[in-house]
């Protein structure tokens, strides 16, 4: 285990979070087409950062930095890390960030088609999830975590965790599609709003169920209880941000341009969504690590079928 590698992985994950905020600012400021040029901005490596170009070119600069950091992280992993699956994940991270850069370029070149923009926003979350996972896998708490004396006859936490992660991911895709199909001056597409709120309900139930079950079964285990508390708090915050975003969005069609309250609230909603996703992934990965699978699920299936039949 290398402490330096872990710290560097955390740095890359934090930089990625910052990149998501920078990207969200481009969308919220409606700055995606501040230049129709890519990879250069208006034919220059470093243009004058005026108007909306500040957001678009700023995003490109942060993205370039994260790309460089990911290359460095992969090199660091290849040098220090012996676990082959972690090395593979490092390679995957680099491929993801390259694909993400190309998708970003395609968004500009094709003048922001919905599918490409939404895919860019979704891949962003997947890449973030990868860097967060790398930070988890290289941490001391991960490597040294002893298996918890597992419980029998209960619904395995790893199932609930996996369901929560998938639900959140689907919700992120719907959210990205909603965001990119209606800028501030267009009416909100009703079906997507319904889908996103329906998705929020699914997340509340799955993630809420996960955190409450973790806290009931493993209150004393900080390794699990802490991310569970974090996830629950972020979920509540995220719902309030979503409500605020919706309310400000409702009153925006008369605005001359995207105004600050709407920009800050929607960007905060995107950022908090990424954090909910990341925290749930950390929690679920840790569940996989410390709660052995085989015995639990076999007990569960036996008990469940017994209970269902009897």
């Amino acid at each position: 285990m290398s402490k330096g590698l872990n710290r560097f992985a955390i740095l890359v994950a934090c930089a990625t979070f910052f990149l998501i905020i920078a990207g969200a600012l481009v969308t919220s400021n409606d700055a995606g087409l501040a230049t129709s040029d890519w990879p250069l901005s208006n034919g220059q490596v470093f243009p004058k950062m005026v108007g909306n170009l500040f957001w678009e070119h700023g995003h490109r600069m942060v993205a370039t930095t994260v790309g460089m950091l990911t290359i460095a992280l992969l090199v660091y992993i290849l040098v220090k890390e012996k676990r082959s699956w972690v090395r593979t994940l490092g390679v995957f991270a680099l491929l993801a960030v390259i694909a993400q850069g190309l998708l970003g370029g395609l968004t500009v070149k094709l003048m922001l088609p919905l599918a490409v923009s939404a895919a860019h926003a979704t891949l962003a979350q997947l890449f973030f999830c990868t860097t967060v996972s790398l930070a988890v896998f290289t941490s001391r708490s991960w490597i040294q975590a002893p298996p918890i004396h597992q419980e029998k006859d209960v619904l395995p936490l790893r199932y609930i965790g996996t369901v929560a992660v998938i639900t959140i991911f689907v919700q992120l895709i719907i959210g990205a599609t909603l965001r990119h199909s209606a800028t501030w001056d267009k009416p909100l597409p009703v079906e997507l709003v319904l889908a996103h709120i329906g998705g929020a309900l699914a997340v509340v139930l799955s993630l809420g169920g996960l955190t409450i079950t973790v806290l009931r079964r493993h209150r004393g285990e900080k390794f699990l209880a802490r991310p569970a508390m974090f996830a629950a708090s972020l979920l509540v915050l995220q719902l309030f941000l979503g409500l605020a975003a919706y309310l400000t969005r409702l009153s925006s069609p008369n605005d001359p341009q995207p105004l600050n309250p709407m920009i800050s609230i929607t960007v905060a909603h995107v950022a908090c969504g990424a954090l909910v996703f990341a925290t749930t992934i950390v929690l679920t990965l840790r569940i996989y690590k410390v709660l052995p699978a085989s015995e639990m699920s076999s007990h569960f299936s036996r008990e469940t079928s017994g209970a269902l039949i009897g």
Binding site: E151, K152, D153, V154, L155, V190, V193, L194, I197, G198, A200, L201, V204, L205, G208, T211, I212, T213, L215, R216, R217, M229, A232, S233, L235, V236, L239, F240, G242, L243, Y246, L247, L250, S251, E303, T304, A307, G310
Partner: protein
């Protein structure tokens, strides 16, 4: 054993065997899970929100919205009892609830609660409007996933719980208008502040129960009751001017103003009396005053709009 344990074996409730019940008793047990009295009060405040938001009340739309809100409130009450089944078993006041008494099994309550909540949310989303469903979600998350787990961790949980607790009139308002305005937030503020004297009175009356269950209500953390007494009076004092705002904002008229003033002073009187003696009986009177105050206030607001 007819038991489907979804949680740790060895805990109190999971070891309770189901009591044999007649069909009628079972229905009654399910009904009890929905906390009908609280649900009724919530529907009442939501109705006030709806009534105040509509220049001319569309009674069919109101009935439909209130139906959704009632189902949602029932679902949340059920999920809350599912989450707190162990604690409830430790308190005399709640030991007879359907789960700790073994009338129903945990998974039955969970399935019932999830079904009601999902049905209510889908109902609000599709048949009322997205904003009401979104507000409903904040109540679910705030109540079940923030307030409930915090109860055993900090006495500030009451403050956290007061947020989702004050949302029902907002849902009513949103159901009528599809958006929220300053007036709606005034209703929110009234309900938010009202909850403190109400809950602190309950917490004082049942402080031994709460101590036994490890629920950190203020009177548990601070048994001599000084801070509890101060807070009861302080929140009722704050409530008084806030309750007069509807007239200032032209939601309601002068009759409401004087009515609210009178009601507020009476409520304050009950609070001060309870705060001075901190006896169980005075706390009970305050509790009674609080549950009379709120419906009367909202009734006045609606009839004098």
């Amino acid at each position: 054993m007819e038991e489907f344990a979804i949680d740790l074996p060895g805990r109190h409730v999971t070891n309770i065997e189901r009591v044999r019940l007649t069909r009628r008793e079972r229905v009654a047990a399910y009904l009890e899970l929905t906390k009908p009295r609280i649900t009724f009060l919530i529907v009442l405040t939501a109705a006030a929100g709806f009534g105040l938001a509509s220049p001319r009340v569309d009674y069919l739309a109101m009935l439909s919205a209130l139906f959704g809100i009632a189902i949602l409130s029932s679902g949340i009450a059920t999920l809350n009892q599912y989450a707190e089944r162990d604690l409830d078993g430790l308190m005399r006041r709640t030991a007879n609830r359907p789960l700790p008494s073994g009338k129903l099994l945990p998974w039955e309550a969970l399935a019932f609660g999830v079904t009601l909540t999902v049905l209510a949310e889908v109902y609000l989303l599709v048949l009322v409007n997205p904003l009401s469903a979104l507000l409903g979600l904040t109540v679910i998350a705030g109540y079940v996933f923030a307030y409930t787990p915090l109860k055993t961790r900090t006495s500030l949980s009451t403050v956290v719980g007061a947020f989702p607790g004050a949302v029902p009139p907002l849902i009513g308002w949103a159901a009528a208008r599809g958006t929220l305005s300053v007036e709606a937030w005034v209703l929110f503020a009234i309900l938010f502040l009202w909850q403190f004297p109400h809950f602190l009175a309950i917490a004082w009356m049942y402080r031994e129960d709460y101590t036994r269950a490890g629920i950190l209500m203020l009177p548990v953390v601070e048994p001599d009751g000084r801070v509890t007494a101060q807070q009861i009076v302080l929140y009722t004092l704050m409530l008084l001017p806030v309750s007069l705002l509807p007239t200032a904002l032209h939601i309601s008229g002068k009759i409401y103003f004087f009515g609210a003033l009178l009601l507020g002073l009476l409520f304050l009187y009950a609070s001060v009396r309870a705060a001075i003696s901190m006896s169980r009986q005075r706390a009970r009177s305050l509790l009674l005053a609080s549950v009379l105050y709120l419906p009367l206030l909202f009734f006045l607001m609606v009839v004098n709009k």
